[in-house]
């Protein structure tokens, strides 16, 4: 499997009045070609910041890229593999990163209602990407846009292309958003909470559309969501984040069948599901700490029922270790535990 993008020890800190918020604090993972990586976590866990860092669209200040690397492997040119680019070294306003945005990496956002500027037509805003990157004529860009809209399932695209965003419903806008992200056939699609703001029946449509498109185009997807079920629908591999750190990373099946980190287990148990008997939900105690005052040691220890005093709450931060092939966990080993 060829790697498409590698995130190594990424640290993004926000300088706020309360101090330094370590939104992302040493996150590593990689995505291979044509793979779907799901990142899950609760609000404020740093999953969106990680995704936005890839495209370098985290507003800075207040954000500060405090360290790490984001290596992006360019397309092989006639069998010759060019060396990877570290996206973190690029100027966020410069030309190099702009050539990657929209062209190599497309992105869809959570809020379909506000993702389009209200003053220009949907078509205009999609064509813009095509014209910027592929230097095509307006007419050709328009034809391609109509084709894209048809492909994402917008009825009557020849007419809808000239509509303004306020004429589109939420689900329609998310489809248009996907069309926009796909307009230059990117190799990686970052989907940041793509279905959070839409209704379940429409969510199912969008997830189905993403699956179809992925299979048809062979692009990789970085799927960010707080919804475990959504991620399980699509992802090959899953990363669980908590307070800016990776808690566990495993192939999807493995993660759901054999979760190892207490946080992952807690998450899985606190979701009310449709199947199985209705039993009392096991809840994770307490609440998320302030990002400016993270606990020492394992960030999860104050809420963990397996927490061992003197180990988990010490100065040492647990390392992300590979327990079994492809299954990584960041937790201190339990005496007599399951190999942790």
């Amino acid at each position: 499997m060829t790697k498409l993008i590698e995130i190594k020890n990424l640290r993004v800190h926000f300088d706020v009045d309360e101090g330094t918020a370590k939104a992302v604090d040493g996150v590593s993972f990689d995505i291979g070609e044509n793979r779907v990586l799901g990142v899950i976590g609760e609000s404020g866990c740093g999953k969106s910041v990680t995704a936005h860092s890839i495209l370098r669209i985290v507003p800075s200040p207040p954000a500060r890229m405090a360290g790490g690397q984001i290596l992006f492997h360019p397309r092989s040119n006639g069998g010759v593999q060019a060396p990877p680019v570290d996206l973190l070294t690029l100027d966020p306003k410069g030309e190099d990163i702009r050539k990657i945005r929209g062209k190599e990496i497309g992105m869809i956002f959570q809020e379909p209602m506000t993702s389009f500027g209200p003053l220009h037509t949907i078509g205009d805003q999609i064509m813009e990407t095509i014209i910027t990157h592929d230097r095509t004529s307006k007419a050709e860009a328009r034809t391609r846009t109509i084709e894209l809209l048809r492909r994402v399932g917008i009825p009557n695209p020849e007419k809808r292309v000239d509509d303004y965003p306020h004429k589109f419903s939420g689900g329609m806008r998310q489809r248009a958003m996907i069309a926009m992200a796909l307009s230059c056939s990117p190799r990686l699609l970052i989907a940041d909470e793509p279905t959070t703001a839409i209704d379940v029946t429409v969510q199912a449509q969008i997830l189905e559309l993403l699956r179809e498109l992925k299979e048809a185009t062979g692009m990789a997807i970085l799927l960010i969501t707080h919804n475990l079920a959504v991620v399980s629908e699509l992802a090959d591999e899953i990363v669980v984040m908590y307070m800016g750190r990776v808690m566990e990373r495993a192939p999807a099946e493995e993660l759901f069948n054999n979760p190892l980190h207490p946080y992952t287990i807690g998450l899985l148990h606190s979701i009310p599901v449709l199947d199985g008997p209705v039993v009392r939900l096991e809840q994770i105690k307490g609440s998320v700490p302030s990002p400016c005052a993270l606990p020492d040691g394992c960030v999860f220890h104050p809420r963990c029922d397996k927490c061992r005093q003197g180990v988990c709450d010490g100065q040492e931060v647990p390392e992300l270790k590979e327990i079994s092939p492809g299954h990584w966990v960041s937790c201190f080993p339990q005496p007599g535990g399951r190999g942790l």
């Binding site: 209704d199 379940v200 199912a204 399980s232």
Partner: protein, 346 residues
């Protein structure tokens, strides 16, 4: 007719309706043109009949804009419904809520309370926790002074907060804690019926579980009746005894929880269930994908509101509005073919 078991497990001998809604309509006018004439109406709640039994949890599920929140607010008369009746059983007496005068309704509010969705906007930032939780007691002249303080304190402790939190302002609390305050406010006055409108939707998964468990415990402890409104089938299933599914301002199906989940009788219920994403990695199911979006409630199709998206639809569906009718024990569905077609549950 046997009442469904509540979570605590006891079976009530006498099924008794605490609330009976008949033909409820809530139409919001659409004003247009330069004279602001009413050119139509948003039929947010459109001819709803619904009975809620004492001590049950009725789950009201549906997608955004289906009218579930409006229905909930109509029960408390936070909106003034444009038609229909609501009867409320209060101490063995039946009151027609919509006919009550303003001050009479205010008295009735002791018995009907609401838990809101947004833990941030639902608490007045300018009041202390004591004032917030104590307000229903105070304005209904249930308690004051020392007694009020005691009751607030007990309630706070019950929902998992500490007595000293009483003098704090809401800004000192996290989302989950704020939701606990909101629950304490609703329950402080010991209502009989609680409408919970998307009360866990805005919370993170781990906190959501805490609040849902709390709501369950409180229901058993205070002998409460809940109308629990949510768009999340998982949440609804976990909390409800009976489930009503709403679509475009109408109740399309209502049944006991497991009955509805396993043998749905309305194609929309089937599709909705099938659309819920499940935590079973890569388990491909033949998902029913609905076409299009929920209809515009100001411009409904002629027949069944769901007919345009329904794969079972026949001619009659686009001509005639189906009525909610009995299709099994305690099971009602509003579909012309509710009995004929075989639908898939979970």
């Amino acid at each position: 007719m046997r009442n469904t078991a509540s979570f605590a497990g006891q079976v009530l001998d006498q099924p008794q309706n605490i609330l009976e809604i008949e033909g409820l309509q809530m139409f919001f006018p659409i004003l247009k043109g330069f004279l602001r004439r009413q050119v139509g109406s948003i039929k947010a709640v459109n001819d709803v009949d619904l009975s809620i039994r004492r001590n049950e949890v009725l789950g009201l599920v549906g997608e955004s804009g289906c009218g579930k929140s409006t229905l909930g607010r109509c029960i408390l008369r936070l909106y003034e419904p444009t038609g229909g009746t609501i009867h409320f059983d209060h101490g063995g007496e039946r009151f027609s809520l919509l006919d009550l005068k303003k001050h009479e309704m205010r008295k009735m509010r002791r018995s009907i309370q609401m838990i809101f969705q947004d833990p941030f906007s639902s608490l007045n930032d300018r009041m202390t926790v004591k004032e917030i939780v104590g307000e229903p007691l105070l304005v209904n002249q249930v308690a004051s002074g020392r007694e009020l303080e005691d009751r607030v304190e007990r309630m706070l402790v019950r929902v998992g907060l500490r007595p000293e939190h009483m003098r704090r302002y809401p800004h000192a609390f996290s989302g989950g804690q704020r939701q606990r305050i909101g629950i304490a406010r609703a329950l402080a006055i010991h209502p009989a019926l609680v409408v919970a409108d998307e009360s866990v939707s805005a919370l993170d998964v781990s906190v959501q579980a805490q609040i849902m468990n709390l709501l369950k415990e409180l229901q058993a402890e205070f002998q409460l009746t809940y109308v629990f409104i949510s768009h999340d089938f998982g949440v609804i299933r976990y909390l409800s005894d009976r489930i009503a599914v709403m679509y475009a301002g109408k109740i399309v199906e209502i049944a006991a929880r497991d009955e509805l989940l396993h043998t749905p009788r309305h194609p929309y219920t089937e599709a909705l269930l099938s659309a819920v994403p499940r935590v079973k990695a890569h388990q491909r199911r033949d998902r029913i994908l609905l076409k299009g979006n929920p209809p515009d409630v100001s411009n409904l199709p002629k027949g069944c509101a769901f007919s345009e998206r329904c794969s079972y639809a026949k001619d009659i569906c686009s001509n005639q509005v189906p009525v909610l009718r009995g299709v099994g024990e305690g099971h009602q569905a509003a579909c012309h073919f509710a009995v004929e077609i075989k639908l898939r549950g979970i």
